[in-house]
């Protein structure tokens, strides 16, 4: 009788009932097939061991929240695709928007521990950007309150809900017309707790002794509330966004922020170039770094109402935004406009209480 094929022998290991009796009987009687089956079992064991990676306690609720957010964010009119670069206008809203959160990628998680009083750009190569450690690998990061961003009826509602002034602009840029709709977001809060063992696990090496009290400190980070006025463009995507959000702040139950910052920055894994730039910031905080990828956006600094501001422009200049910090607020203007236009709008915007 012919010998069963390798596939049959392999299945015999996993699902013997799925193999014909005649093949099973043959293997029982055939030393050659038993030897082949033994080799298959060894390989199966090796593969099973190699591919073992347990993921206990998958947080389905958090996963669903994340997916829901992505689905809502992906809800753009078909025209957005048609107009190509129009859809990033929606993303420019982010410049106006909210900071922090447990899932924010890479370096973003680090920065809310600074009290924000001005904006300064940090430019890092893309390779370095992806090299930055994620905060959740260094402890626990919990998001205690989410912003629940939503549309409200008008500027008055936006002001009442957020307690913030709303923007008004009399001289809209060319191509922008009509009344804006208003978005509001509640205050976002999160808490970070440093964990040395987890950090060493993540970095694969011993790390320097943390400052006394570092491991028992809790860093509570807040950002928001915020509001934004959004003018639709001809494609249905926003043509202009003007917004404001209460700048991120951090509160510590123990170690001062500056001490924690300097320690965190000293950990291996943070690119030396970025660490050096961060260390250059004043120790009393007051700077909100923005990371700008070098190869697809340009940025430059200027002033809006006498305050330091960062202007971001996509390659080709199709999308621009300006961000500045004033009086504890992050303000932003963005749209499918030139840098000059967003700066003009930023300068002329009136904030109405």
């Amino acid at each position: 009788m012919r010998h069963p094929g390798d596939g049959t022998l392999r299945r015999l290991l996993d699902e013997p009932d799925g193999v014909a009796d005649v093949d099973r009987d043959h293997v029982d009687e055939c030393p050659e097939c038993r030897s082949r089956m033994s080799a298959a079992a060894d390989d199966a064991l090796l593969a099973g061991s190699a591919l073992t990676f347990d993921v206990p306690d998958v947080d389905v609720d958090e996963g669903w929240r994340r997916l829901s957010g992505s689905l809502a964010g992906a809800r753009k009119p078909a025209a957005g695709r048609k107009f190509g670069l129009r859809s990033p206008v929606v993303a420019v809203v982010g410049v106006v928007a909210l900071l922090g959160g447990a899932s924010a990628a890479a370096a973003g998680d680090w920065f809310p521990i600074f009290k924000t009083e001005k904006v300064a750009p940090i430019t890092v190569p893309q390779a370095d950007l992806v090299q930055l450690p994620e905060l959740q690998e260094f402890g626990t990061m919990t998001r205690d309150a989410r912003p629940n961003v939503r549309t409200v009826d008008d500027a008055r509602d936006a002001r009442e809900i957020t307690g913030l002034a709303s923007p008004r602009i009399n001289n809209l840029p060319d191509g922008v017309a009509g009344q804006p709709r208003f978005l509001v977001g509640d205050k976002l809060t999160g808490t970070f707790a440093f964990d040395r063992a987890r950090t060493e696990q993540a970095l694969g090496q011993r790390i320097p002794q943390p400052p006394a009290g570092m491991e028992t400190s809790r860093f509570r980070m807040t950002a928001g509330p915020g509001l934004a006025a959004v003018w639709p463009g001809s494609s249905g995507a926003p043509a202009l966004v003007i917004g404001r959000v209460v700048a991120p702040k951090a509160f510590s139950t123990g170690v001062p922020f500056e001490t924690a910052r300097d320690y965190l920055l000293s950990l291996p894994g943070l690119p030396a170039s970025v660490a050096g730039q961060l260390k250059a910031f004043t120790k009393d905080g007051g700077t909100l770094p923005l990371i700008v990828k070098e190869d697809s956006e340009t940025s430059f600094t200027t002033k809006v109402d006498g305050k330091p501001a960062t202007v971001l422009t996509t390659e080709g200049g199709a999308i621009s935004a300006v961000v500045w910090v004033d009086g504890g607020f992050i303000n932003g203007v963005g749209g499918s406009l030139s840098a000059a236009e967003v700066l003009r709008v930023a300068a002329e915007t009136q904030w109405t209480q």
């Binding site: 420019v92 961003v149 939503r150």
Partner: protein, 191 residues
């Protein structure tokens, strides 16, 4: 530029628009949440076997469900579709870059001594990296069949998901396991 690209460019800047919650578009299939809750851990598990990273696996699972939300795959075929998609997406991630490897390399500071406990972790991580590298070199169908089988899918489920006959699933898995061993041995002997 894509939305995700913007997020990479401005990490930490949470987009106002994308923070809208409780607003799953009506155009999304109505059974999505039910299927998500039933299948999410398994989909994360499939991706984790490929990537050796929980965080990356969850990212892949999210990406997979986003794609799934736009399909009209029958609910009865959802789990197979999702597992195959997760395996493919995770393998794509493996092949598209060596980001994590470079990050891990960069994270090592030779000036800091390595303790025995941490050394164990390093060894485990090196193993994961070797496996991922070997997996990425297998023929795609073999790699997917291997991952699905070792994620607990039955021969019938793997066959349905990959449009194979149940008989050829065993052959494909066997070849994949043999190839994986050879890849791992080759790598080990070249070190």
């Amino acid at each position: 530029m894509s939305h995700s690209a913007w997020r990479r460019c401005f990490p930490g800047v949470k987009l106002l628009v994308t923070e809208r919650e409780d607003a799953v578009p009506a155009s999304v299939r109505s059974d999505l949440e039910h299927i998500f809750r039933a299948a999410y851990p398994r989909v994360v598990g499939v991706a984790a076997r490929v990537l050796g990273s929980r965080d990356e696996a969850e990212d892949v699972a999210q990406e997979t469900f986003l794609s799934f939300s736009r399909t009209d795959v029958p609910a009865g075929e959802a789990i197979g579709w999702l597992c195959v998609a997760a395996a493919h997406t995770a393998l794509n991630h493996l092949r598209s870059g060596r980001r994590r490897a470079s990050r891990e390399e960069a994270a090592r500071d030779p000036r800091v001594a390595v303790s025995p406990d941490v050394a164990d972790a390093v060894v485990a991580r090196d193993e994961h990296r070797r496996v991922r590298a070997a997996l990425s070199r297998l023929p795609r169908k073999q790699a997917v069949a291997l991952v699905l089988r070792h994620s607990g899918l039955s021969y019938a489920e793997v066959a349905a998901a990959l449009d194979l006959s149940p008989g050829s699933v065993g052959t494909t898995v066997r070849r994949a396991e043999s190839a994986l061993r050879e890849e791992l041995n080759r790598h080990a002997s070249s070190r």
